[in-house]
């Protein structure tokens, strides 16, 4: 009907308004269910724990030789481990490795997946075919079995290395989804229109394509964090990864296989503390993703 060309200044202010509206929307969605606030709080808590947690404790955690597997008490809310170290301290100091791996994995997964998907969907032609074959290959390789095999070849000495490997194994799904999104945007004439206006490719990708996919990508990133946490904790739990630092998977492994946590209640707190941490992290991320889902996917909105 009416095409109103917006002058630059108005555009900027409109964008600012949009942003304000967006944050207002976020706040509204969060406020509607207190559980979502809890989710954000939990995620923030873990972020703080990962960044500042290890600083709260000395490099060598204190041990109490007379309190091996001590039951929970005021001074040890989750009891102590096999050599009398406070379990809570272990969970807190161990979070950095776990979360860093998760983050590294998520960043690599998302960056690689998005780049491949965008490029393939944008370029089409033989590059698309080639990249999609690569994606198929990535999806066809069984991840956990390969990790098991790799763990004997590769020493995952740093969380970043671990994240790199997990990320390299996991980008296929996102690449495929981003590509189909790109193609559908393309079908809707998005790209052609931008081309017609003489906008450069980087602008089209950076300003037009990415923003419309950003919510999807952000949600995937969060999900990738949990995926990576489980994968690495699971590998440590199986005991196939060499470990030097303390982390949750190592705690699980030691609790079950040398503490007998599943056989006797004595070491149960030692097992439950990292499990609780995992559950809490999951819960936090699930709640945040739920909120994001509603913010970005209006269909789920019921108003």
């Amino acid at each position: 009907m009416t095409v109103t060309a917006l002058p630059g200044a108005a555009g900027r202010s409109r964008r600012a308004t949009l942003r304000r509206n967006f944050w207002r929307g976020v706040w509204r969605v969060l406020r509607r269910k207190p559980s979502r606030m809890a989710g954000v709080a939990i995620c923030a808590l873990f972020a703080v724990m990962g960044v500042a947690g290890p600083l709260l404790y000395p490099a060598h955690l204190p041990r109490d030789d007379d309190a091996l597997y001590a039951p929970p008490s005021l001074s040890h809310p989750f009891g102590t481990d096999f050599e009398g170290t406070d379990v809570l301290a272990l969970v807190v100091t161990g979070s950095r490795y776990v979360l860093l791996t998760g983050l590294a994995t998520a960043v690599i997964t998302v960056a690689l997946g998005t780049a491949v998907g965008l490029f393939a969907g944008f370029r089409r032609g033989w590059q698309d075919t080639l990249l999609m074959r690569l994606t198929d290959l990535n999806l066809a390789i069984p991840g956990l079995p390969l990790l098991l095999v790799l763990s004997t070849v590769w020493k995952f000495e740093s969380p970043l290395e671990m994240g790199l490997v997990l990320g390299l194994l996991g980008w296929g799904g996102i690449a495929r989804a981003v590509r189909s999104q790109t193609l559908s945007l393309r079908e809707r004439g998005f790209i052609e229109a931008a081309r017609g206006l003489g906008l450069p490719t980087t602008h089209i990708i950076g300003r037009e394509l990415l923003p419309s996919m950003a919510p999807y990508i952000a949600m995937n990133m969060l999900i990738a964090v949990t995926g990576a946490v489980y994968a690495q904790v699971g590998l440590f739990f199986l005991g196939v990864l060499p470990f030097e630092a303390n982390n949750w998977g190592v705690m699980l492994n030691l609790a079950v296989f040398s503490g007998g946590a599943l056989t006797t209640p004595a070491a149960l707190p030692y097992l439950l503390a990292p499990l609780l941490a995992i559950l809490l992290l999951t819960l936090g991320i699930v709640l945040v993703v739920d909120a994001m889902d509603e913010i970005f996917n209006p269909r789920l909105r019921e108003e």
Partner: protein, 342 residues
């Protein structure tokens, strides 16, 4: 019309052929990659076996007697020679001889493990699918109600909780604290294998915990997927249109369910393909002798042939499932079937 049918059949055949060709290339690539990685794995399997025997209290002489001969089972020749030999025998479906079970063909080891994997994982997959789909519909329809919310949250959480956590907790409860179910093994050896009540009963009793674990672990994914599909379809105009045309609730529900479940069938096909990988964690926790456990054991015993073979079979499962899922989708979804003009 007949020509159109013929064309369609021809197109399908070409599609299948294309998929199969691509699948073969994929399998070859994976075989090559896994071959290289596996040969790069450090570790002396015979030495490890010897030292483990000492650890278990065997005398050094006994341990030496038991392991010396195994050196003959290690791969010989340059990497390239091994590779060409490996590929050559692959063409004859020969995966080589096992080192950890010396004197036994890898194919027969994989065969017997696969039969143990298929039972619980397939049962678990189908159970969780049925359960998840039903609950997913409910959670979507009642998404503003408390129960619907709870269901969705349970789905998210179960989907999020790693399978090993579920397995460990179930073992702790049902095999240790309240031992009503066996904690390990596939079937009680006291029963003669065959179609007799004792054997089948024991089979089922032993499968309960792995199946329940698997069901719980994958149920969350199904409920979430189904819920989101149902919500999407609920928002689709044709559902409202159907209601406004006064269609019976049952019919509207069928419209809803069919449209929502359709995309899940391809995922189901994929997860059935994945089942050849078994669930490493479940099999490890419940000592269930499937392919996952076989792979773990082959890695720790550096059984190169078995490792490569198991890995390959798992991959083939996934590749075949991908092909099936793709074809299945084009068969069950009319929009894809005719090339979709919409």
């Amino acid at each position: 019309m007949t020509r159109a049918t013929a064309n369609r059949a021809g197109a399908l055949a070409r599609r299948v052929a294309g998929h199969v060709a691509r699948g073969l290339v994929m399998i070859w690539l994976v075989a090559t990659i896994s071959f290289v990685i596996i040969r790069e794995i450090p570790g002396d399997p015979v030495l490890a076996m010897y030292e483990s025997m000492l650890q278990k209290g065997m005398s050094p002489d006994q341990a030496e007697r038991a392991t010396a001969v195994l050196y003959g089972f290690l791969p010989k020749g340059s990497l390239w020679e091994q590779y060409t030999g490996y590929m050559g025998s692959l063409l004859h479906f020969d995966l080589g001889r096992s080192l950890s079970t010396p004197g036994v063909e890898v194919t027969s080891l994989i065969g017997s493990a696969a039969s143990w994997t298929v039972l619980p994982v397939l049962a678990g997959t189908l159970l969780s699918f049925l359960l998840g789909v039903t609950m997913g519909v409910y959670a979507a329809v009642r998404r503003s109600g408390r129960l619907g919310d709870l269901l969705a949250l349970s789905g998210s959480l179960l989907h999020g909780v790693p399978v090993y956590v579920i397995g460990l907790l179930l073992t702790a409860i049902f095999a240790t604290l309240w031992p009503i179910l066996p904690s390990g093994g596939p079937v009680d050896v006291e029963f003669t294998p065959g179609l007799n009540a004792g054997y089948l009963g024991s089979l089922v009793r032993h499968a309960v915990l792995p199946v329940v674990t698997y069901t719980l672990a994958s149920y969350g994914g199904w409920i979430l997927a189904m819920k989101s599909n149902v919500v999407t379809v609920l928002g689709d105009d044709f559902i409202l249109a159907a209601e406004l045309r006064g269609l019976r609730r049952g019919i509207v529900f069928r419209y809803l369910a069919r449209n929502a479940i359709l995309p899940l069938f391809t995922i189901l096909a994929l997860s059935i393909g994945m089942l050849f990988g078994g669930s490493i964690f479940i099999e490890e926790i419940f000592n269930y002798p499937g392919l996952g456990l076989l792979l773990v054991n082959s890695i720790s015993s550096r059984d190169y042939a078995l490792m490569g073979g198991t890995f390959l079979v798992i991959t083939i499962g996934i590749v075949v499932a991908n092909i099936v899922a793709d074809l299945l989708y084009s068969v069950i979804d009319p929009r894809v079937r005719s090339g979709g003009t919409a």
